[in-house]
Amino acid sequence: MERLNDEGQWIVLMGFMVCVGIFFLAVIIAQSTVVGQTTSEGVLEFPKNDIQDLRSEVIEIAKRGGTSSLKADLKTLSMARKNAVVECSITPGAVNDSYYEYTRIILHFNNGVTEFDETFLLSRPKTP
């Protein structure tokens, strides 16, 4: 049997290194086709605008004193149009200090995929 030819080993090694480099670049290109897809799926699935809008509306209701018909509107329409369970409790004057009166808002949102809970104190300056 012929003896192993051990010349040109550096060239072989360099060849391997270039191969590995090209392979990693290919992995990055492969990722790029999928990444926009999964990101936008995540954005679509997460009800960011729903929650922001709901939150600002509940605070508006609290500023009006927590009218029960508005809360019923919110609850009924959320269930009918957004398939979301919305509960909110608004307690004016729940906390008091010397200068401010605080309305306590407890907000619950659940659309089956995302659940959001928040307790919030809305301050209003006391009239001197």
């Binding site: 009218t67 509107d73 329409l77």
Partner: protein
């Protein structure tokens, strides 16, 4: 005794095999099949655009002012909604003739009637906005507190209230 010649060739063979396997795995992994129902990227952009447009309309221009969307619903002003919503959607930094973005929409208002049922009436549509049977639309919504007593589209029997919370729902699509 084990023949230990040609070990370099053996190693090279293994390495080449691993490289070939990895390449095959990679090639199979890159072929993602996009089906029309799976194109979330444009949907996501459209949904964000629509939400932003409604948020712009639901924001007063100055502190203490009433906002545009509340005025539109209180007076059921179809034209003003169309003008304002389309202007917000197609607001570009370039002039409009460099970019044609053919957006269509169909907006309606949902409210809670006296019996606890949910009812609706159409608010506005774009030129071809009534063709909602086949288009892949995204839905954007906005809560609005209006004076229900002034909204002529809500029947009096449906317990109109002041204030009343209604949901503006817009279906938005390209085409």
């Amino acid at each position: 005794m084990v023949n230990d010649q040609a070990q370099m060739y053996t190693l090279e063979g293994f390495a080449a095999g691993v490289l070939m396997l990895l390449t095959a795995y990679l090639v199979l992994g890159t072929t993602t099949v996009y089906t029309p129902g799976d194109v979330h990227i444009t949907d996501m952009q459209l949904q964000q655009l629509g939400s932003d447009a409604l948020a712009m309309m639901d924001t007063p221009n100055s502190h203490g002012d009433t906002n545009e969307l509340v005025n539109i619903i209180n007076t059921t002003d179809h034209e003003l909604f169309d003008d304002s919503f389309m202007a917000n959607l197609q607001n570009l930094t370039e002039s409009t003739d460099t970019c044609i973005d053919d957006l269509q929409y169909n907006a309606s208002v949902y409210y809670r009637a006296a019996s606890g049922e949910v009812a609706s009436y159409p608010l506005a549509t774009s030129d071809r906005g009534d063709l909602v049977s086949r288009e892949p639309a995204v839905r954007v919504t906005r809560w609005v507190t209006v004076n229900g007593e002034s909204v002529s589209e809500i029947p009096e029997a449906a317990d109109r209230r002041n204030p009343q919370l209604v949901l503006v729902e817009v279906l938005l699509w390209r085409g």
